[in-house]
Symmetry: C2
Subunit: 356 residues, 2 copies
DNA sequence: CTGTTAGCGCTTTCAG
DNA sequence: CTGAAAGCGCTAACAG
């Protein structure tokens, strides 16, 4: 019926509807019912080749875009996976997102990223958004325990990445922070350093706790006592980070610095640079997490490199696995970081001048 | 009715429903109709204080999360704004996203970011996702003209950022590329350089075209002829970028390099570093776009800084404006970049040795 | 101030 | 292989 009119007058009847075309419009245009159109365009269910072809053509002609809300409402779940990271401006998180996206895309899921600025309120708001969207799952670098609780209460799969903050068992992808930090600090101690400053984020995160632990373990193994005054906890984006690092340098006279994340390493580097210190002659520096600038500066920074993109991929894989088998036991994957020795570490300065 | 049962048995009846709570569940729990519940929880329409309180409590108790799909389906639009950028791993785009997010949040919109890897197919897929979600609008750093066409055909507001690729008038936020590049190259020419290499992305983007134009304009103004062999177009993520830059150095012997984006600047820097060249004694370097590493290296890089975050904010503001008045004429905002002279630029090496 | 009613666009039985 | 019918969860008239 409508099909005939459509065909004869096609050329002039390409009036773009004021509202987006619906499946019913497409069906009418092709002379079928909406159900058939649904089957043809979504690809599941029997449709005769002829009908399918006409429907596809009609959809094309009307610039039909399926309404995701209607579909999600009906199916009660969507093919969207939510990702919440702390700071998209930090390449660590950007790398994670890249890895996640890669694996998700292969499985025909859509990733949606939100950045929460390490703020619990924003984090929870993000989770609620994903809950509201009926996401198939959520991958998160958590700042508190609530996300996992909230999500699992609603039956939505969660994977924690980089740190574990859930208060119940939960899939997670971690890096061996203790070993990474241990390697880094062990390297410094082996070079003869005895006063190694630790710059660490002031959080209750397992990542930072692990790095602190590694710092202590390395000291214990080397038989060196830890001077607690060398440990400086600094909040993210703290405006006084650099002055505090400078003060630590003055007051505690470390011969080496271990910066437990890339942001702190950047602060440390700026302080050292401003003082005109020459590395590693005057001071050694090691960073946890390798980001591009660290190999751009001179000397290049010795780092503990994390397999960031791989972490993202694994997290996505864990999530997909759980989507298939919701009740399998929680799995925690722990990847190994790698110490990459570059130019910023060397033997400590001899103390001859001072002891004279 | 149900209200009584609910109240008496509350303590033991906190059985989490197998399916997420719906508005109807909340209404039943509070002894009202769904409409009243809707009014109370969404905050629009008259509701008696008592009913409101009971509803809010009930919603809390049932851990009610509104179903975004149902709402969007009903209202035929969502409070989501889609953002498509070329590469979230590049701090330029991350900064843009941060600015957009900021302004959108204030207006109580939700930002959703997608990265398209400068790939047209991925870009279009992203647009379709946003179309399917009935986004309130889309902000994009376009790689082709299709997105704007597709979106405006569906009546969805679009804002292009960083470059204009739409084939019809469209809101946009740009930076004055020609002036920025002109300032940079003018600075080099004023220092006495006569062979300035240009590393530029191999695209048909207005951003790169503008920077190339600025390069030419500066030469013209200084009365210096452009040697076309000094212009090297390089695709994004080209694996042979560094060898090609190295070859340019050998064959054309420029005394300065102008890298038209941060990625190319990084490649150039690595090449110079590997050769042990000392800046600015042996060669000068200027970059378009200021990212953190550029002030971390020694000497710090002279740059044309873009107001990245502000660009994001403006883009979001333009989008919101258009949401209010869909038919106002397209507006294009052009922000001014700033030349920041640092240590990587100086007078060209004297050619005495060579001429001897 | 509140409830009834209708329907957003899609998918999914279930008959034919 | 196809269509009719029902309903996902929510909101917007419109009566009361």
């Amino acid at each position: 019926m409508g099909g005939v009119a459509g065909r004869t007058a096609r050329a002039i009847e390409v009036k773009p509807l004021p509202r987006p075309a619906t499946l019913a419009d497409v069906a009418r245009e092709a002379g079928t019912s909406a159900s058939t159109a649904s089957r043809a365009l979504s690809g599941r269910g029997y449709v005769s080749p002829g009908a399918r072809a006409r429907l596809i053509a009609a959809a094309e002609r009307l610039a039909y875009v399926p309404n995701a809300s209607a579909r999600t409402l009906k199916q009660r779940t969507s093919r969207v996976v939510g990702v919440v990271v702390s700071d998209l401006g930090n390449l660590f998180y950007a790398g994670l997102a890249a890895g996640i996206e890669q694996t998700l895309r292969e499985a025909r899921y859509q990733m949606i990223v939100l950045s929460d600025n390490s703020d619990t309120a924003q984090e929870i708001a993000g989770i609620r958004t994903f809950l509201a969207m009926r996401s198939a799952g959520v991958i998160i670098t958590p700042v508190g325990p609530e996300p996992a609780r909230l999500l699992s209460r609603h039956g939505v799969p969660v994977v924690e990445v980089d740190r574990q903050l859930a208060d119940a068992p939960c899939d997670a992808v971690l890096v061996d922070n203790e070993r990474g930090a241990g390697d880094a600090v062990g390297h410094l101690l082996a070079l003869g350093h005895r006063r190694v400053a630790l710059l660490v984020a002031e959080t209750n995160w397992t990542s930072d706790a692990g790095r602190l632990l590694g710092y202590r373990t390395a000291h214990a193994e080397a038989g060196v006592a830890v001077d607690e005054r060398l440990i400086l906890p600094i909040r993210f984006h703290a405006p006084d980070a650099e002055p505090r690092i400078a003060r630590l340098l003055d007051e505690e006279e470390p011969t080496a610095i271990f910066a437990a994340n890339n942001e702190l390493a950047e602060h440390a580097w700026r302080v050292l640079q401003r003082r005109g210190l020459e590395l590693p002659r005057d001071l050694s520096l090691v960073a946890f997490d390798d980001v591009p600038w660290m190999s751009l500066v001179d000397p290049a920074i010795t780092v503990v490199a994390q397999p960031v993109v791989e972490m993202g991929r694994r997290a996505a894989a864990l999530l997909l696995r759980r989507t298939d088998s919701p009740i399998s036991p929680p799995r925690v994957e722990c990847l190994q970081p790698t110490l990459v020795v570059r130019g910023s570490t060397g033997a400590p300065p001899s103390r001859t001048a001072e002891s004279a």
